[in-house]
């Protein structure tokens, strides 16, 4: 057998008994050399698996705490890059895994809540939520439930590119992105849009759902909304091709 399986199933079964608690008696030096012994846990044995996923669902924190943290995140990132594009790329990459997390969290909550409001706009049943199969339900998921989870309100607009050359481009608008409030951008970086972080979150959600996409954030101020930001979602060719196939097959 050229490639023996990575894990022995039987071995794994016997491992399941090794409780993290028993490691507590061992001095740390020993733990270092034993792979996969598990983490120490408090004497009440509480781990992340004991914490209900909805516990912080409606919890709130001060907005300035977020602004301070996010500001430090941007400042720190800035020290490690050479230009605005680089910085935006880095912020995007930090948002991406958050998008994947939020996606699973959203669906978990819809499965478990009895007053199941469907995530995908097309479905009106109370059955468990559907994964988006087409572009529109995916974008509605982002515009509505994702934005509400993050910012307690839906995004302000969702549009499709009118140009026949770019049918793969969609735009999500936020008139007043939380991430741009309070974050003071140095003068030489006035083109920077910190919402690149949110663009990364969106990209993570798209990718997680199987819709390869590039998402970028662009300043589009108006008189009324100086921080107005457009998130430009550009889907990959494979997505557009699949979209045609699914359309022909009558999948919504």
């Amino acid at each position: 057998m050229a490639h023996p399986p990575r894990h022995s199933a039987m071995l794994s079964l016997s491992n399941s008994g090794s409780s993290a608690n028993s490691d507590k008696q061992q001095p740390p030096q020993q733990i270092q050399h034993i792979a996969n012994t598990g983490l120490r846990v408090p004497s009440n044995r509480k781990t992340i698996y004991d914490r209900h996923l909805n516990r912080s669902r409606n919890a709130e924190i001060s907005r300035s705490s977020f602004a301070f943290l996010f500001g430090e995140m941007v400042t720190y990132a800035q020290r490690r890059v050479t230009g605005i594009q680089d910085l935006e790329k880095r912020l995007n990459e930090q948002g991406y895994p958050m998008g994947l997390r939020l996606l699973d969290l959203l669906y978990y909550r819809t499965i478990t809540s009895s007053t199941s409001s469907s995530l995908a706009s097309s479905s009106t049943s109370t059955a468990p939520p559907n994964r988006p199969l087409r572009i529109l339900p995916l974008l509605h998921l982002i515009h509505g439930p994702l934005w509400r989870l993050l910012f307690n309100r839906p995004a302000d607009a969702l549009e499709h590119s009118v140009s026949p050359d770019t049918p793969n481009e969609y735009m999500i608008t936020d008139n007043d992105p939380l991430v741009n409030a309070y974050v003071s951008v140095p003068k030489e970086m006035h083109m920077l849009n910190c919402a690149a972080f949110v663009a990364g979150i969106i990209e993570g959600v798209c990718d997680g759902c199987g819709f390869e996409a590039k998402v970028t954030a662009h300043n589009q101020p108006t008189e009324l909304w100086p921080g107005r930001t457009i998130f430009l979602v550009r889907f990959g060719e494979s997505v557009m091709e699949r979209e045609k196939v699914l359309e022909r097959a009558g999948i919504k």
Binding site: I48, Y49, P128
Partner: protein, 191 residues
């Protein structure tokens, strides 16, 4: 019934796997695959060969729980799938016990295996070890599908808890013994 459960990343990297047996109808929770020597290799092979079907079904049906999607008659193995929205695939292989006429399950006698058995299982044939309505007997019955749904949902909940930790990156093997014990417990509870 013997089970092999695996979580695959969107790029087919195995993140977690576990084998166990039924705890229903007096089962002791220990897996007894028909070819114990090669079970692990075979199980992974069978699961991977069902991935094409998963990928097709994934775009025809927006449910997270896709139910029974594939059967591999030579090993009387049934595959059930659940898709996490962020791209991980949960796959459960179940293999009903040997025909009652053969010797004790799991001892590796292999002369009577194969499609003749699988057809009896598909038609809901009961064995002496479990009644026909029990999930141990019929891998495609509505009762089984419901039990597997509950199992998958419970695993999903624990999977999301794993994902939520900032130190977990997609594609990393899930090594937590607590996670493993949670999956084991879910198997014991529902399967």
């Amino acid at each position: 019934m013997s089970y092999y459960f695996t979580i695959l990343s969107p790029t087919d990297v195995p993140l977690f796997n576990i084998a166990f047996g039924t705890s229903k109808s007096g089962g002791d929770g220990i897996a007894r695959f028909r070819f114990p020597d090669t079970a692990q290799y075979m199980n992974q092979f069978i699961i991977h060969s069902s991935l094409d079907i998963v990928e097709e079904a994934q775009w025809m049906n927006g449910n997270m729980y896709l139910k029974h999607i594939d059967t591999y008659p030579p090993a009387a193995a049934y595959i059930t799938a659940f898709l996490a929205p962020s791209g991980a695939r949960f796959l459960l292989l179940h293999q009903p016990p040997q025909l009652p006429s053969t010797t004790a399950p799991g001892n590796g006698s292999s002369s009577l295996l194969g499609s003749s058995f699988s057809s009896s299982a598909l038609s809901g044939g009961s064995s002496s070890r479990a009644s026909s309505s029990s999930i141990g007997a019929n891998p495609t019955s509505p009762q089984t599908e419901e039990a597997v749904r509950q199992f998958m949902n419970e695993v999903y909940e624990n999977y999301v808890k794993t994902m939520m930790s900032p130190f977990y990156r997609q594609g990393l093997e899930i090594k937590s013994p607590v996670f493993r014990s949670r999956v084991t417990a879910a198997g014991r509870k529902w399967l």
